[in-house]
Amino acid sequence: MPMSELLSVSELSVEFTTDRGVAQVLDRISLAIAPGEVVGLVGESGCGKTTLARTVLGVLPAGGRIRGGAIHWEGRDLLRMDARLVNDEIRGRAITFIPQDPWSSLSPLFTVGTQIMDLMKWKSPRRGVTGTRGHWPALVRGYPGARRRADREAVLDVLRAVQIPEPERALRRLPHEFSGGQRQRLMIAMALLPRPDLIIADEPTTALDVTIQAQILRLLRDLVKERGVSVLFTTHDLGTAYELCDRVVVMYAGQEMESAPTDAFFERPAHPYTRRLLDSLPTAGGEIRDIPGEVPSLIGPPPGCRFHPRCDYATAECRARRPDVHAVEGAHRVRCYHPVIAA
């Protein structure tokens, strides 16, 4: 496992028990992120991108179960490490999170300051390695004054960096007094404060208007590039992926289909699904092409490549066994028996 990789998900499978049966939501997904790299995880709803993000964060919704695979973080498999250690050392420190819905991600009953400082109390970069010897139960453990003052300064700096007006006063206000755009800036600030190596952003701009989205995308890109933080960014909006990412991975019905540097992904898509996806984007007045058929149910999904029922190039192989990874060019990889290689 080359050390150049920060996060390496290998052969990850996740299932969900529902009242209609067991849904195979992720099918042996492999994904790697290098330090400082912004990777876009793109796909339509139900493709598993949010499940993958939440599995790495370790917050699978009820009914979700990991069936196999590993998530290596700097060489150590998070799935086999001591849960308390992952929760104390990795979650919220090495890996932080930006949620999709700015409106519900802060408790309405506590001021913004209380919630940020609570985060700092446990996740501040100035807090030494805690280990598991916490003798005092978390609830009553103190917050050393010196560190609190230093953390508060850091909070004010980052709030200015994300262009929150009057940071001092903002800390004393309640979340409902901020607009959607400002709240998302708060979320970005909270994601940056612990000086993470990786930020997982799950559709961070989906709930925002286009002009606010543009501001947030620009802010996020500038800050992560400035601080060399890598990002796993999930979205169903191909435009935002184009704007923000260095590399894009497209998923369909729980399988990864293609992964390529952004320009190669959009100019020379090799996988039939990626091509159909880009074709169905609305263009000025032209003919609108959609993808015939429906996304398959993940309870008893189609064997082999799960796109084969809707694919023009599908052959017996595609229906029998999932295609292996085929290297197109450099970092451009596709999982397809009949990739469309541009001349």
């Binding site: 979650r91 932080t96 309405p108 446990w122 996740k123 978390a138 609830l139 997982i200």
Partner: protein, 335 residues
């Protein structure tokens, strides 16, 4: 601002609702019964005595005039005199109010201190053995007739095991004190013997009264916590690795509490209603026993006086609930 408005609106509606209550009690006492005077005079009175009483009480005047007079006297705190104790009803009620308040407060404390943690725990360990057991207890808690529960507790603890006195509020003399709440006065006076005696007496009635309220609170808190656990900020805090105990006991409980506060307010009303029956079972010298005993002796005006008092206390409690709700929910205060 909004908090003020809420309270003001409640205050604005207080008099008309109370007046409506007075109208209802007036109708019950003067209009429904065939001959209200006969009822007041009692079975033994001769027709002549009844006729004399009718003019003396002014029952021969037109109803609206009687109503105005009725409300006028109530306004002056004159609930009429009790046929049985021959003392003004207002004084009887006042002297017994402290007993009812003490019983209700202890029952309230019991249901809150036991109910809320149980509700949180049963939500956190959902569908565990504990959760199922608690669900059976809470469903049965809402199904048990409180007077029967009281009798059964008496049967077991007082008669069979002898751990507690059978009934009554205190064997000896009440501890000196200003509040009229024996437990509080005993503590203030440092009179531990009286305190333990009073505690022994209040144990069973408070438990009887508290059980249905406890059941409601567990169910309500459990539902509240379950709902909060689905919210976005809990997901965010879990994803950011905050210690689980901080998430549960600070953020989840705090959110679940805002709705529980209104529920606690409602509980006070339920406890007041329960007190009427529970006091009778345990001969607890509160306004409930006083009202029920007056029923048996058809000491008529008492029932009316009691209804008015209960209504007023109830409306006041609703007012307190609104205020408490705004105190607990900062958004109310800020907007």
């Amino acid at each position: 601002m909004r908090a003020l408005a809420l309270v003001l609106r409640r205050l604005v509606w207080f008099p008309p609702t109370l007046l409506g209550l007075l109208a209802v009690t007036f109708v019950i006492s003067r209009v429904i019964p065939a001959d209200p005077v006969a009822l007041v005079a009692g079975e033994t009175a001769t027709p002549a005595q009844v006729a004399a009483l009718r003019s003396q009480l002014g029952f021969d005047r037109p109803l609206p005039v009687q109503f105005v007079d009725y409300v006028g006297r109530l306004a002056r705190g004159d609930l009429g005199t009790s046929l049985y104790t021959t003392r003004p009803i207002a004084d009887d009620l006042a002297s017994r109010l402290a007993a009812t308040i003490e019983l209700t407060l202890v029952a309230m404390a019991l249901s809150v201190l036991v109910g809320i943690p149980l509700g949180v725990v049963s939500a956190l360990w959902r569908n565990s053995v504990l959760d199922h057991a608690l669900r059976v207890i809470t469903v049965s808690g809402l199904a048990i007739a409180s007077f029967w529960l009281g009798i059964m507790l008496q049967l077991l603890f007082a008669m069979r095991l002898g751990w507690t006195p059978l009934n009554g509020r205190l064997a000896g003399f009440p501890p000196r004190g200003v509040t009229g709440l024996y437990l509080v006065d005993a503590v203030l006076a440092g009179d531990w013997a009286a305190f333990t005696a009073a505690l022994g007496h209040i144990a069973l009635p408070a438990a009887t009264l508290a059980f249905p309220a406890l059941a409601t609170l567990v169910r309500f808190t459990r539902a509240g916590v379950l709902e909060v656990m689905q919210s976005g900020f809990v997901l965010y805090e879990r994803a950011m690795g905050l210690p689980p105990s901080v998430i549960v006991w600070k953020y989840i409980l705090r959110s679940a509490l805002t709705s529980t506060v209104t529920q606690i307010g409602l509980l006070f009303g339920i406890l007041l209603a329960g007190a009427v029956v529970t006091e009778t079972v345990f001969d607890w010298p509160g306004i409930g026993t006083y009202a029920v005993n007056s029923i048996i002796r058809s000491d008529y005006n008492v029932v009316m006086g009691f209804t008015v008092w209960a209504g007023t206390i109830f409306l006041a409690v609703n007012l307190l609930v609104d205020i408490a709700h705004t105190v607990v929910d900062p958004r109310e205060r800020m907007s």
